[in-house]
């Protein structure tokens, strides 16, 4: 039997080996199919909306709104994707988002230094995510269960610390930090949209062009095989949870700066749309499979749906009916296209 180091050198460091080549080939083919089927679904949805209301969807205003709000969900979905590829789940990220955002708002007000507040908040998010990872890996509690616990814990901490009262961020407006995080580039492009695109590229690089990305896929695909191949699966899992905490904190800071106010409930509404974005983007709930591109397009679809439905004139109680219906149809079309590709 091969020792783990020898196995790793055969499978990862030497990509020309037949076994690795087959796996990568399979992953690339799946990725290609996923990506194009997602683009097709988005194109169909946008085409329907544009035909129904060309004035809205051929104008800039609606896309400006999408660029202002969708990036928050997109950043969360991007960071959640590696966790799900690893065959884990995290339900606590909206609470980590809220707590880190409270810390940012609170420290900005008390120190008058938003940059320091940003750094401390990001570290808080990172540590909160890492705590999830440690509890999952070292204690062995299933991630679904433990992150329900930490979800309530961090939400409770927000209430305890804030006393249930919101905090204004108006004094931060006009600072360099504000402009660089949520300012309007050239007066038209929200900075958060550029952050989301940049982070999507970074995630794509890590998942597809870095050894750590391969480790994530192997860990999610078959943890025992990955372990035998010498992949430090425990460290991989802890890192994916930690990065989700970090980016949840980052998204929370962006959300609070965009609204210039921190509500103690900030983040609570992001849980289901974010998870929906990841699954709609083709990431497998069984682990080992998923794409950053798919998640990114999934976030755009989920974020644009309700506004699209309303702008084509379906109002009142019909909105939710069509929202659910379009998600079901999208997943159906996506699955069919992927199979045919």
């Amino acid at each position: 039997m091969l020792r783990s180091e020898e196995f790793r050198s055969l499978t990862i460091k030497k990509p020309k080996e037949k076994k690795t080549k087959t796996l990568r080939h399979y992953l690339k083919l799946s990725e290609f199919r996923l990506q194009w089927s997602m683009v097709a679904v988005l194109a169909i949805i946008l085409a329907v909306f544009t035909i129904k209301n060309p004035r809205v969807f051929l104008g800039f205003r609606i896309y400006y709104s999408f660029m202002s709000i969708i990036p928050f969900m997109a950043i969360l979905a991007l960071a959640l994707t590696p966790v799900i590829i690893c065959k884990e789940i995290d339900l606590s990220f909206p609470s980590i988002l809220g707590f880190s955002a409270w810390m940012f708002a609170s420290l900005s007000a008390s120190t008058g230094n938003p940059t320091l507040a940003l750094v401390i908040s990001l570290i808080t998010g990172l540590l909160a995510g890492l705590l999830n990872g440690i509890l999952v890996v070292k204690v062995g509690v299933p991630s679904l269960i433990i992150t329900i616990g930490t979800m309530f814990f961090w939400r409770g901490m927000i209430m305890v610390c804030s006393g249930g009262v919101g905090k204004t961020l108006v004094p931060v407006k006009g600072t360099v930090l504000f402009q660089s995080l949520v300012g309007r580039i050239g007066g038209v492009v929200p900075a958060q949209a550029l952050w989301a695109v940049g982070l999507a590229f970074l995630f794509w690089l890590v998942l597809n062009r870095h050894k750590f990305g391969a480790h994530i896929f192997f860990t999610g695909d078959n943890i025992e095989s990955a372990r035998m191949m010498g992949i430090p699966v425990n460290r991989v899992k802890m890192l994916v949870f930690a990065q989700l905490g970090f980016f949840a904190a980052f998204a929370g800071i962006l959300v609070s700066l965009e609204a210039l106010y921190h509500w103690p409930t900030t983040g609570q509404g992001f849980l289901l749309p974010t998870i929906a974005s990841v699954f709609l983007g083709g990431t497998s709930p069984f682990g080992g499979m998923g794409t950053i591109f798919g998640t990114f397009i999934g976030a755009i679809i989920i974020g644009a749906l309700e506004a699209g439905i309303i702008s084509v004139g379906l109002m009142g109680f019909w909105t939710q009916v069509f929202y659910g219906l379009i998600i079901v149809i999208s997943v159906g079309i996506h699955t069919i296209l992927r199979k045919r590709a």
Partner: protein, 330 residues
């Protein structure tokens, strides 16, 4: 020196006796009274937080023993929470009326049969109130339909809206009694000749108002002639300025209006994005139901019906209440 010390000691003793005599025979009225209090929303909700602040102050002032229940504005959870509260057999339960008479009547019947005092706040339960006023079932809150009507009429008058103008009501018509406020808004605007569109607030937006931004932007893009957007929700009203900015609307182009003051809605009034906010004084909706239960328990007083929603805040009168809104009292 000794003489002086004696004089000082005598004075201190006299003062002590005077204070003791003032409080002689009196104790905190609510001492030993166990109450379950429904805040309505989730912990941290801007509105429910102010209700909680009022109840907490009453708990302190009266010395009652209060357990707080947070129901996420979810009517099914309110019913489940009521059953839990009843099982604990307290002296009194103060409920939010959102689930409506039909859902609550049988449960309130059972609670009162067990000797538990029940009263209500924020949303009326007219049938149950009629039935049990004599045993302490009161109501503290706005008259929902009237509040909606008041805000719509006030805002239409303020902005000079009339025939041919368009407005959006973004509300919660689907909730049995709570929806009456959205209905009041719609009727008040239609009465002025305004064409009204309606969008129901989704669960996600109900929990995290920020997520409503693309909805409002989509509506504005499809209906650029809209003059007024009324949000029937405290959190959404506090987010109106952000909605308009996201949709690329300048101050005054389209005006917002809504319910429940907060620091954010005060700022939006100052910045010219929000025309008017109905203030239903949620602090009182926390404070007075505790007083009601304690008084009924101690002296058997009947239920009081108190209307707390009688004012609209706009640019002309926002400053005096701004500081209190920031403290979570108004």
């Amino acid at each position: 020196m000794k003489k002086r010390l004696m004089i000082v000691a005598t004075l201190v003793l006299c003062l002590g006796l005077a204070f003791a005599a003032t409080g002689y025979g009196l104790e905190k009225l609510g001492k030993g009274v166990k109450i379950y209090f429904f805040n309505g929303g989730p912990p941290g909700c801007p509105f429910a937080g102010v209700v909680y602040n009022g109840a907490k102050q009453a708990e302190y002032d009266l010395g009652a023993d209060v357990t707080y229940v947070w129901s996420d504005w979810n009517v099914a959870k309110m019913i489940a929470d009521f059953k839990d509260a009843m099982a604990a057999n307290p002296d009194g339960i103060a409920i939010m009326g959102h689930p409506g008479d039909d859902a609550f009547e049988l449960l309130v019947d059972q609670a009162i049969a067990k000797g538990i005092i029940v009263t209500s706040q924020n949303t009326t339960l007219p049938r149950i109130e009629d039935k049990y006023t004599a045993v302490g079932f009161g109501y503290v809150g706005q008259e929902l339909y009237a509040s909606g009507l008041m805000l719509a009429r006030h805002t239409a008058r303020l902005l000079g809206l009339g025939d041919g103008d368009r407005a959006l009501v973004y509300g919660l018509l689907s909730q049995p009694t709570r929806g009456l406020r959205s209905k009041g808004c719609i009727d008040g605007l239609e009465e002025a000749g305004v064409t009204v569109d309606y969008i129901e607030i989704s669960d996600a937006v109900n929990t995290d108002p920020l997520l409503g931004a693309p909805v409002v932007a989509g509506y504005i893009a499809a209906n650029p002639d809209v003059k007024l957007i009324i949000t029937d929700h405290g959190g959404l009203t506090g987010t109106l300025e952000m909605y308009f900015k996201t949709a690329g609307v300048k101050p005054g182009e389209i005006m917002g209006a809504g319910f429940d003051l907060s620091a954010a809605s005060v700022e939006a009034i100052r910045n010219g994005y929000t025309a008017a906010v109905h203030d239903q004084q949620p602090y009182l909706q926390g404070y007075l139901p505790i007083v009601q239960i304690v008084l009924t328990k101690k002296y058997g007083f009947a239920g009081l019906h108190i209307n707390t929603g009688s004012g609209v805040v706009d640019a002309s009168n926002v400053e005096p209440v701004a500081a209190l809104a920031e403290q979570g009292i108004r």
